[in-house]
């Protein structure tokens, strides 16, 4: 898995590319933690290039959500592929996190 991080004026974007599994989850967690420590707790996880995500990957997203909320920010998902969406449905995590159509739309509501 490749991890691509970019910061923008109002939010930061984390882009996991490839398979987000147990071996990549700690890196995603670290990247989110680093962004929060640097003062960007408004984070979009762009799943457009994520082919597959396992439960450890989902765990890292929830861990990131917790950390972002504690820092008065938020973590949002964007552009998940069909296969990732089906995993979100299977674990019912779609009851908690919304998959926004695009990265731009993720923090569209403020």
């Amino acid at each position: 898995m490749n991890l691509n991080v970019t910061t923008h004026t109002r939010h930061a974007v984390v882009r996991p590319e490839g398979r987000l599994t147990a071996s990549g989850a700690p890196r995603l967690k670290q990247a989110i933690k680093k962004l929060i420590d640097e003062g960007s707790p408004r984070i979009v996880v762009d799943l457009a290039q994520t082919e597959f995500i396992d439960s450890s990957g989902l765990g890292a997203l929830i861990g990131g959500l917790k950390a972002a909320r504690l820092a008065e920010g938020d973590l949002r998902l964007a552009a998940a592929s069909e296969s990732v969406k089906s995993i979100l449905r299977l674990t019912s995590l779609d009851r908690v996190l919304r998959d926004h159509p695009t990265v731009e739309a993720a923090f569209g509501d403020g």
């Binding site: 147990a22 439960s55 674990t91 009851r95 908690v96 919304r98």
Partner: protein, 652 residues
């Protein structure tokens, strides 16, 4: 089907049929209503036992004997050795053996005791060492489940071999078990037996459980319900993490719904109370409408994180306005109420309020500060991170003091499979004294009953009928303590006072009881196939006070929230001190009463004041009970395997 399984099924059917025949007669024709106070409890106890027979027959119906996996072992593995307070040398013996497991893996010592000397020893051998992270400070620790959950987030192996601190693994343990996961993608758990090396042939404490780690687990396996027993098992990480995620979502849905409902009620009440203050009243009413709206959209399926985030923003804004508003009101209040301990600082031209005065203000009904405070608490409760827990995701179940059974049941309910591999691949240490053994049994029983009360398998969604019965069967067996009281009392009452629970011990009785009894014994012999099961049978009766205490304390814990003090089993030998007579007084009392009853019965027959057949039946019954209970005396006198070995040597 093997010949053995055919035989098992024939006897399973016969055992249940003869049992139904006997019990029907007992209920319909043999009850002595004149002595209903003992007759009815006895027939209920006997019905309990028949249901137990039925559950045992069902368990054995599909007994599955696996010869080993078909696929070669694959995947990455983490070996977890869990410890809390066991001696460092013992943990390291296990850790070194774990390091020598032939299949490639990483070994971690999970030290819940956070001991520097343990850390040093583990690192010196080049092993991983994990303790709780800072997240756990001041949070519920969830014992062993918490220890494992913490480690799951520090490691990344696809499979996890879990070992208690005393369980020395065989170098081939992974080679023999990993293949099952490749055989079937949905396999989440492979359990192997627990075997104890510090137990001699006599095994006075009944530590070996050859019936459970054998026919019973094989039987449960046939229904895809092999149990997870906490150690000597391999688990699939993905399955555990999925449990964690699904559990998190479920918990969050529940708590959000609860919180929003509570918030509505609270805001409505506060709004009503502050009708006299239009500004505040309006603000609170508006907020209540927001909460109602949020509750609706959550029920309609909107993602919870979105809804709570929006609501939180609104509540934050409202409380900021309220606080500002409140300060203004407070100043007015202060000016109006001279009795309050307020002074005007002339020099700085500000109002000075001392601490006591402020406290008084905040507790006064008319102060809107209370409303602001309540709103603040709601904001906290609406967070998505489970603020009361160290980790939002808890893969291993925490609803019970025995995390293993609860976790396996969750896995099964989500469609995962389990396997029981019947080959000893780890050897451990059993408790060496009666006290420790009693505590361990109590904990297992309590854990099982907690699951029974909190997450009843008969009602749990996702389990098959067979799986429900397998879990229910184990829980049912722990109710045996209540039946035991009746079984012990009935013959004592007859022999001493001549009170009969049945109308007659006649030919009718023998014609129905004897086939039932004999076929049951035969069935048990066939199932156990030469395994020594007498110890287990003895203890299932002899531990009746433990079973009863487990039921009552778990009930008090689940229903009335009374804490169960959690006991970690000691594995480093005996606890010193005198005989633990206090722990077994009910058994000793029962033994004394049985002996007195026996003598009285014989005397009464000799004097011609008692019926010969009835007395004979009851004497046989008492003799069986005494034989079973006598194990307690043997256990009391037991000084551990070391002492036993020395005695044996001295004698030879």
């Amino acid at each position: 089907m093997t010949r053995r399984l055919i035989l098992i099924r024939v006897f399973a059917v016969l055992a249940v049929l003869t049992g139904v025949n006997y019990l029907t007669w007992r209920w319909m024709e043999s009850l002595n209503w004149d002595a209903w106070w003992i007759a009815v409890p006895l027939v209920i106890a006997e019905t309990y036992s028949l249901i137990d027979t039925f559950l045992f027959a069902t368990t054995m119906w599909r007994a599955k004997e696996r010869s080993g996996p078909e696929s070669p072992p694959t995947g990455t593995v983490d070996v977890f050795i869990t410890t809390y307070n066991e001696p460092v040398a013992m943990v390291m013996a296990t850790a070194r053996a774990a390091k020598n497991i032939a299949y490639p893996h990483e070994t971690f010592v999970l030290d819940d005791g956070d001991r520097p000397e343990m850390a040093a020893a583990a690192r010196a051998e080049g092993l991983g060492y994990i303790t709780r992270s800072a997240d756990w400070t001041d949070k519920p620790r969830h014992a062993k489940a918490g220890n494992l959950n913490n480690a799951l987030f520090e490691t990344d192996g696809e499979f996890l071999l879990i070992l208690d601190a005393d369980q020395i693994p065989d170098p081939l343990i992974l080679h023999r078990t990993l293949g099952y996961f490749a055989d079937e993608e949905r396999v989440a758990l492979v359990q192997t037996p627990q075997w104890f090396i510090n137990v001699d042939e006599a095994d006075p404490l009944g530590s070996q459980a050859p019936l459970f780690y054998g026919p019973i687990q094989q039987g449960k396996d046939g229904w895809n319900a092999a149990f997870f027993c906490g150690s000597n098992a391999v688990l699939r990480r993905e399955a555990l993490m999925q449990l964690g995620i699904v559990g998190y979502v479920r918990e969050l849905e529940d708590s959000t719904r609860r919180t929003l409902r509570a918030a509505e009620r609270l805001l409505a009440r506060e709004a009503g109370r502050h009708r006299a203050m239009p500004e505040l009243h309006k603000e609170l009413t508006r907020l209540r409408e927001e909460v109602t709206g949020a509750r609706f959209v959550v029920s309609a399926g909107e993602p919870i994180a979105d809804v709570t985030h929006q609501l939180r923003t609104q509540i934050d804004a409202a409380s900021r306005r309220l606080v500002k508003n409140d300060m203004d009101l407070m100043a007015e209040d202060l000016a109006a109420i001279h009795a309050m301990p307020v002074q005007r600082d002339a020099e700085r031209d500000v109002v000075v309020v001392d601490e006591v005065g402020l406290d008084a203000l905040t507790t006064r009904e008319l102060s809107p500060l209370a409303a602001v405070k309540s709103v603040g608490a709601l904001v906290d409760a609406l967070r998505v991170d489970r603020p009361g827990e160290a980790q939002p995701i808890q893969p291993l179940a925490t609803i019970s003091v025995t995390e293993d059974m609860a976790t396996a049941m969750q896995l099964h309910s989500m469609g995962w499979r389990s396997a029981y591999h019947h080959e000893i691949l780890a050897r451990g240490l059993a408790p060496e004294d009666l006290q420790t053994m009693l505590k361990q049994r109590l904990r297992w029983a309590q854990g099982t009953m907690q699951v029974f009360l909190r997450d009843n398998p008969m009602a749990k969604r996702g389990l098959s009928a067979g799986q429900r019965l397998m879990y229910f069967g184990t829980m049912w067996s722990y109710l045996a303590g209540f039946a035991a009281i009746v079984y012990l009392s009935a013959p004592i009452i007859y022999l001493m006072f001549g009170v009969m629970p049945v109308t007659a011990w006649s030919g009718d009785f023998f014609a129905r009881f004897l086939p039932y009894f004999l076929i049951n014994q035969l069935f048990f012999l066939i199932v156990s196939r030469g395994i020594r099961t007498w110890r287990g049978q003895q203890y299932s009766l002899a531990l009746f006070p433990v079973w009863i205490r487990a039921c009552t304390s778990s009930f008090a814990n689940v229903v009335f929230k009374k804490p169960l003090s959690f006991v970690v089993t000691r594995k480093d030998g005996r606890v010193g001190g005198s005989l633990p007579l206090r722990e077994v007084w009910p058994q000793l009392t029962a033994i004394a009463l049985l002996i007195i009853a026996l003598i009285t019965g014989v005397v009464r027959v000799l004097m011609g004041t008692a019926d010969g057949t009835g007395t004979l039946v009851n004497i046989v019954w008492v003799a069986y009970s005494l034989a079973a209970l006598s194990v307690v005396i043997q256990a009391l006198r037991y000084k551990g395997p070391a002492a036993h070995a020395e005695e044996a040597e001295g004698a030879s």
